[in-house]
């Protein structure tokens, strides 16, 4: 049970979160007295999706989905979980959206070229999401599609898919937002970031790309357990033999991809791509899935066209001399 003092502090934080100012703390406090307990409301909307970001969230890692919805947030609607369908489901969504005290988590991209390439409740997605976007207190772009466009927005896409962030720009909607990229999103990155907001009433410290620093400030390469092999120029050429060598010459995009996968792992701290001897494909990267080939066989590191650190490696040879 919270003490009165804790409750007041919490109210101040919530006030900050909801209104960007602490002056409403007393109102929030009154609200608490009425409701006894108030968790931040969260709604999920999916656009052009594979559903991977929600599935990933439900798998959990350090964070657990059940703990998340029991103790951290007040989950209002989720298209894959909600028991109601059709008009009753839309009504539940509208009931939350008419107030402005919720976090919107959006997954997937938005087709702007062919708006009807994604329809919900008889509306093209771009119109369907507008009220939910406009009234949200904070917008969380979950996954690479929602953050940067991802696969639906790749070269040759026919639907004119854009990320949620581009959509905000196009519609001239100004809202506090954060990007949580990843294809799919890592459960800890998503639930951890929302938990931070719920606990502090603040948006976490962010990188230039508006991704939370806690998870995205350094490259996979710098966190990598194979960095020593890279330093010694020991590269994998045969997947069956060199099982601990650096995967760079196979196309690993760890050096240009910012996330903490190597120290965090996935699925209950079990494994992750490089640990499993598979090159990082850069699914967190803004350019994912890239124009260039994912898998290559490079003779020299200088042959890797997309690698912005080539110069440093060349210099490293000079340094040795």
């Amino acid at each position: 049970m919270l003490t009165r003092r804790q409750l007041l502090q919490h109210s101040a934080k919530l006030s900050m979160l909801l209104f960007g100012s602490k002056v409403f703390a007393a109102d929030v406090f009154d609200g608490f007295i009425k409701l006894e307990e108030k968790r931040i409301k969260v709604i999920f909307i999916q656009g052009q999706v594979c559903a991977g970001c929600s599935i990933s969230m439900m798998y959990g890692n350090e964070t657990s989905f059940m703990q998340f919805i029991r103790h951290i947030i007040s989950l209002q609607v989720h298209p894959m979980l909600s028991f109601e369908s059709s008009d009753d489901y839309l009504e539940m969504l509208e009931n939350t959206v008419k107030n402005d005290d919720y976090i919107l988590v959006f997954e997937g991209s938005i087709p702007m070229g062919i708006p009807n390439a994604c329809n919900i409740g008889g509306l093209p997605l771009k119109d369907f999401i507008k009220p939910a976007v406009e009234n949200a207190s904070i917008i969380v772009a979950s996954g690479t599609c929602s953050s940067h466009g991802g696969i639906p927005a790749a070269v040759n896409n026919e639907t004119g898919a854009v990320s949620l962030i581009e959509y905000l720009d196009m519609q001239n909607i100004k809202k506090p937002y954060l990007r949580i990229p990843g294809c799919p999103v890592h459960p800890d990155w998503l639930m951890g970031s929302i938990s931070y907001i719920a606990a502090t009433g603040k948006i976490p410290k962010m990188t230039e790309l508006k991704t939370p620093e806690t998870y995205y400030k350094d490259t996979i390469h710098n966190h990598c357990s194979r960095f020593q092999h890279f330093s010694q120029d020991l590269y994998l050429s045969d997947y069956a033999q060199d099982k601990t060598n650096c995967l760079l010459k196979k196309g690993c995009r760890g050096p240009v991809t910012y996330s903490d996968c190597p120290i965090r792992n996935w699925n209950g701290n079990t494994n992750f791509c490089i640990k499993s001897n598979a090159p990082c494909v850069g699914c967190v990267h803004p350019d994912w899935p890239f124009d260039s080939d994912m898998y290559i066989t490079a003779e020299k590191v200088e042959d890797i066209s997309w690698w912005e650190m080539q110069e440093k490696v060349k210099n490293r040879d000079n340094d040795k001399k």
Partner: protein
């Protein structure tokens, strides 16, 4: 006077789906399944390196990405003429099998069960089980996703049964999460197994990783046999009428799958009535007449007479049903007949309830296969042969895979080492595809004939029938 009823959006599925049914004098006379989302994966793959398909096609759908991973690498291997080491094939089946089981678990509990059991009954719980008290707190909040308007229709409302089912609804989420770690130990992570590469599995599988996989499999088996199987039986006993609701054409097909320990667990064939015919791949085609595409495949929303983004696969011009029930009718007819006979007298058809039952029966069959398969793994042998991506191959190939919702095919053709065409014929496209002329799609056909004088009941039955096919719109339209 006929009346049009629509369900838009249908929740608890993957992707976006709208259903409309035409009701007249208390009977559904016509039905349409509208696939509501298109992304254009096949077009996005055009011009890319073939290996990229192994990564990109998994992202068609996160809930069943493993099957796209396997189908795509197999197709690429057929194209590059690669012999995969024995261990690589074993590991792939270990991934596929466990995946299918977990997928059936989420389908039954998290997608279907709320249509049959009244979760509100948990509010009457007055015991001291901490887990149940937490669930009660969650479900009785004033606003939450687990609320459902009170239905007049028949729901399971016995307190003890409901509490058991509600507990298992949430337990299923934990079981899947643990099973995901079993998939990750072999496939790198999930969703999206990066260790699936043309040539085999990149993972350096040690015996301790197989121990971990085995432990996960044991825990999954405990849940399947002690909880899932029994819970499906509760539904079968409660709703035997659904063995007679939601049948389609009684025409099925299946590809061969899970064949690493002698006889394939599931055989290839086309089943019509009780007759099994050999499958001729040349007879498979995708029709566009009711789909939002021009004849050249370009997207065209609003095309005349079109109502869905889903294409319509046909076998020899006819719609075919695929899924666990199809696999069992083709390869394990006696088992599924004996299970069905406990609740329903009459021929075993694909029906709403028989599809739910078939999934858990299939889980038990696959579990046995997986336990046997672990000991086939040869420690010390290679899991992968490295395939050179620099080969400039021109040609075409295809491959198939088991998938939770039916059987899956990937086709690839390349020119000078780049993808020219990539085509995925998905189980949910077969089942959820629209009509061609007078031939309704499988799910549409299954909805026709639903009876009730009450609109709400028609809608509820419609949802039950549609969800029994495990709609994956993310797969069906890609």
């Amino acid at each position: 006077m006929s009346k049009n009823l629509k369900i838009d959006p249908l929740t608890r599925i993957e992707g976006h789906l709208k259903i409309s049914v035409e009701e007249e004098a208390g009977t559904v006379k016509d039905a349409k399944v509208h696939g509501e989302m298109y992304r254009g994966f096949e077009k996005i793959l055009h011009g890319r390196h073939p290996f990229d398909a192994a990564r990109i096609t998994q992202r068609v759908c996160s809930i069943c990405h493993e099957v796209h991973g396997v189908a795509s690498v197999k197709a690429i291997e057929n194209l590059y003429n690669v012999d995969v080491p024995f261990n690589g094939l074993i590991l792939r089946d270990l991934i596929l099998g466990l995946h299918v089981i977990t997928d059936h678990i989420i389908h039954f509990y998290n997608l279907c069960l709320p249509d049959y059991a009244d979760f509100n009954i948990i509010s009457e719980y007055s015991g001291s089980d901490r887990n149940l008290l937490k669930i009660k707190e969650l479900i009785t909040r004033p606003s939450n996703p687990f609320l459902k308007r009170k239905e007049n229709a028949k729901f399971i409302r016995e307190k003890d049964l409901c509490i058991r089912l509600v507990r298992n609804y949430f337990k299923a989420i934990d079981v899947r999460s643990k099973a995901a770690s079993g998939l990750a130990i072999l496939g790198a992570k999930t969703p999206f197994c990066q260790a699936l590469l043309p040539g085999g599995i990149t993972t350096d599988v040690t015996l301790d990783s197989l121990y971990k996989y085995h432990k996960v499999l044991e825990e999954t088996a405990d849940f399947v046999i002690q909880d899932y199987y029994e819970d499906v039986q509760i539904l079968c006993e409660y709703f035997p009428e659904y063995f007679g609701i939601g049948s389609a054409y009684d025409r099925f097909f299946g590809y061969e799958s899970l064949s690493m320990s002698g006889e394939p667990l599931f055989k290839e064939g086309v089943l019509h009535g009780s007759k099994l015919y050999p499958l001729d791949y040349k007879k498979i085609s995708e029709k566009l007449v009711s789909s939002y595409y021009d004849d050249d495949g370009k997207p065209h929303y609003g095309k005349n007479n079109a109502y869905s983004w889903i294409k319509a696969p046909r076998y020899d011009g006819l719609p075919m049903e695929t899924g666990p029930i199809a696999r069992l009718l083709i390869s394990h007819n006696k088992t599924i007949s004996a299970e069905t006979a406990k609740y329903y007298k009459g021929d075993v058809l694909s029906s709403t309830m028989s599809r739910l039952l078939a999934r858990v029966v299939e889980c038990k069959i696959i579990l046995k296969y997986l336990f046997d398969l672990i000991s086939e793994y040869r420690p010390g042998d290679d899991n992968i042969v490295t395939v050179d991506p620099n080969q400039k191959i021109t040609g075409s190939a295809f491959a198939t895979s088991i998938a939770a919702r039916g059987d899956l095919m990937h086709k690839i053709s390349t020119v000078d080492g780049r993808i020219d065409e990539y085509n995925m014929v998905m189980p949910s496209t077969w089942n959820f595809g629209p009509s061609t002329g007078s031939l309704k799609g499988i799910v549409e056909k299954a909805l026709i004939g639903i009876k009730s004088s009450d609109e709400a009941s028609i809608k509820l039955q419609t949802e039950r029938v549609v969800r029994s096919f495990d709609p994956c719109t993310a797969c069906s339209i890609h």
